[in-house]
Symmetry: C2
Subunit: 473 residues, 2 copies
Amino acid sequence: MAEDIDTAQAADASLLDRYPMRDEHGGIRHEFVAEIARAVQSADAAFLRAIVAELHEADLGDLIEALEPEDRVSLVELTGADFDFSALNEVDDSVREEILEELEPETVAEGVRELESDDAVELLEALDEEDQEEILEKLPPSERDALERSLDYPENSAGRRMQTEFIAVPPNWTVGQAIDYMRETPDLPERFYEIYAIDAAQHWQGAVSLDALLRARRPVPLADLIDEDRRRVSVMDDQEEVARLFGKYNLVAAPVVDTEDRLVGVITIDDVVDVIEEEADEDLKALGGVTSDEELSDSVWTIAKGRFNWLLVNLATAFLASSVLGLFEGQLEKMVALAVLAPIVASQGGNAATQTMTVAVRALATRELGPNNAYRVVMREGLVGLVNGLAFAVITGIAAVAWFQIPGLGVVIGLAIICNLVAGALGGILIPMVLERVRADPAVASGTFVTTITDVVGFFSFLGIATLWFGLK
Amino acid sequence: MAEDIDTAQAADASLLDRYPMRDEHGGIRHEFVAEIARAVQSADAAFLRAIVAELHEADLGDLIEALEPEDRVSLVELTGADFDFSALNEVDDSVREEILEELEPETVAEGVRELESDDAVELLEALDEEDQEEILEKLPPSERDALERSLDYPENSAGRRMQTEFIAVPPNWTVGQAIDYMRETPDLPERFYEIYAIDAAQHWQGAVSLDALLRARRPVPLADLIDEDRRRVSVMDDQEEVARLFGKYNLVAAPVVDTEDRLVGVITIDDVVDVIEEEADEDLKALGGVTSDEELSDSVWTIAKGRFNWLLVNLATAFLASSVLGLFEGQLEKMVALAVLAPIVASQGGNAATQTMTVAVRALATRELGPNNAYRVVMREGLVGLVNGLAFAVITGIAAVAWFQIPGLGVVIGLAIICNLVAGALGGILIPMVLERVRADPAVASGTFVTTITDVVGFFSFLGIATLWFGLK
C-alpha cells in the first residue's frame, strides 16, 4: 500500500517525485531526512517551502520527529506561512512543547489562526497558562473568545474536542436554499459531512446528512430530510463516552449542544479515532505498569522516574509475599523442596489471575461487563479457575513427586494450586469490578492487588498445607 | 449522555417512549427485556415488529444478547422482514452462529438481501462453507456473485471489508450532472461521503468529497474538484494497514482498487473503527495470556480450554526457573533467608521487564518503533533498567539487612537486582523486536520469554552472588 501512497502523492507532486519521503515499507527514507536537514542548515527556504506545502500534515509530523531537535524549529521558521501547524498535533507532546516554546509567540499565533478551532485548542492545550495567554492575546478578539471558551471546558470533555465551525441553517429552508447557501458562503468548515438545522435562538432542531441533501430535489423542504433522532452529545460529556457513541452508532460526526440544547459545535470521527487509540493505549500501558503519558521520545530520566513508582509498589507487595515465606522459615530449612517449589504455585496463580483480570478490565472499559451480567461472569471465572486448578493440580503434583521423590508432596502442591487458581480467578474479576465501582481506573491498580493475592495465597496455602501434611514445625 | 440518546429516540418513537430500552446510565432496563421476552413467548408479532423497527441495529443487537437463547431465534422469526440482520453483526460471534444455525436458510437469505455487501459478508463469514453455500444459492445471481467475490479475498483483507456499493461517474461530467445523477438514481448506497471518477474501463481517476461537490456551482467540471492524490487501498491490503492509513490521514472513506487499479469497492470509517477496536482488544488480551477470540458469552469449558495452553507454557517456564533454585539447594538450607528473598529479586525484574515489553509491543503495533529508532530505544531501555536497578538495589539492600540482620546480604541482593533489571529491560525490548522480525506476533509470545529470563537471571544472579560472597557450598 505504501506504493499506492507514493504513486498517489507523486501524481502531481513534482518535488516529492524527485525526493520520495517513504520507502516501499512506508518508513521514512534516511536520504530524505538528510536532504531536508541539509536544506534547513543551508537555510534553503524556497526548497523547504515547496516540500512542506506538498506534504500531508501527518507526513510533515513524521518528518519533524525524524529531524534533529535544533533543525525542527528552524524548519518551521524557514517555511513560515507554508508550514501547517496542525502537523504539530501529529508529533509527541514532548516534541511539540519543545518546538512551541522555542518559536516566537507571533509565529505561533499566526499558525494558530490558520487552524480549525479543534486543532488550535489541541495545540494550545500543550502550553502552560501564560504561554497560552501570550498567544491568545495576539489573536483577533472573535477567534480568541472562541478558543478561550473551548479551553474553559474540562480536559477530555466534548467541549474541548469539538470544532466550533459548522453549518447551521433554518429548518424552514428548502434543499435548494441550503445548497445555494453553501455555494455562496466563502469560509465554510474545511471538511463537513452533515449540516444542522437550528432555530433563531440557536436551539438544536436536527441534522441533514450531505448524501440525503444530494439525493433530494431543490424544492424539497429540509424538514422532510431532517433527522431529529440524530444522537448528539453535551459539551460536558467525557470523550470516552463520545467515542463509545460513535463506535456503537457508526457516526461520522456528532453535534455538540450546551446545557440549553443550543448547538455550539461538532465532533468529527477523525478526532474520535484519536480518542479510541489513546484509550486503548492507556489501558494497555496501565496493565503493563507504565504511565499513560510515557512517550517513545522521552528521556531516560523521565521514563525511569515514571516507572519507579509502580516498581516501588511492587517491591512492597513482594516483601509482603516473602514475609509469608518468612513465617515458615523452619519448614523451609527442614524441607528445602518447599522453597524450590513455592514460586511455581505463586506463578501459576498469578498468570491465571492476570488472564481473568485482563478480560475483566477490557469488558469494563467497553461496558460489556455491567450489573446485568456481573454475577454470571464472576461465577464463571470462579469455575474456570477451579477447572484449570484441578488440571494443573494433577500435572504439577506428578512433576513435583517425580522431581523430589517425596511422597505426599504431590498432594500438597496440588491442593495449593487449586486454592491459588480459584483465589486468583475471583481476585482477578472482583478487584477490577470494585475499583470501577469506587470510580478508580481498574486498568491502573488491579495488577498489584491481584498478584499480591496470588503470591500470598500461593505461599501460605502451599506451606500451610505442607506443615499440616508433613507435621513440620 | 444516555438521556440525550433516550430523549432523541423518544422524539418520534411512541413505543420506545412507553417502553424505554435504557436506564439513565445507558444500561438495558430489565423491565424492557422482560417485556420483550413476554411478547416473544406470547408470539405478539405486531408489538415486536413495531419495537424492532424503531430500534437502531446496535440497540437491537444489545437486546438480542440480553434475551435468553431460545427467545433470540423466535424474535427474528416473529419480526420477519422488519428485523434488520445487520444487528447480528453487533452481537458476539458465538451468539450469532447459534442464531444463524437455528434459522431457516430462506429467512437468512431474505435478511442478507437487505444488507449492504460489507454487512452481508461479515454475516456470512460466521458460517461454515456449506451453510454459506446454502444461503448464497438462494440469492439472485448478481448479488451472489458479488458476495462470493468478496468472500474469496483473504480474511482481514480490504477486499473482505469493503462494500461494493459506491457511486462512480465519468470524470468529464459537471457538478450539475453528478448531482442530477444522484437525484435520479433510485438505489444509491445507504450512506456515502464521496463519489469517485472512473474511466470507461473502470480505472480509478480520483475522488470528489460531497462537501466539495456542494461548494461548487453546477457548471463547474468535476475535473476541477477531483483529488487524484486521494489515498486508496488495494483489495489485498491487510485491514490493520488500512486502519493505520485512516487514522494517519483522517479519512472517512477509502476507495478500494484491484491489481489493475480498477475501482471495485469502498471502505468506510465505521468498519475501520471496528478494526481499530479489535486490534486493541487482541493486543491487550495477548499480553494478558488470553486468546483473542475469547468472548464474555463463552462457556466455562471453552474459556478454561482456551486459557489452559498459556498456563501450561507458564508452568514449564516456572519449573525451569525453580530448577535454578534447585541448583542451590545446599545454600538455601544453610541460609534460609535466600529462599525467602529470591522471589523478590525475580518479581522486581519481571515487573520492570513487563513495563518495557508493554511499551515495545505497543510501539511496534503502531509502527512508532522501527529500524530508524531501534538502536536508540534499546540503549534507552537498557539505561532505564540500570537507573531503576541502582535505585532498587539500595532500597532492597537496606530492607533485606534490616530484616535478616545478615551483613553483606544487602550487597548481594542489590547486585542481583541490578543484574536482573538490566537483563529484564533488554529482554523486554529485544524479544518483541525479534519476534516482529520473524513475523510472529510480539504481543502473544513475548510475555513468557521475558518473565522466564527475569526468573532465571533473578534466581541465578542472587544465589550465585550469595554463594561467592558468603563462600557457601
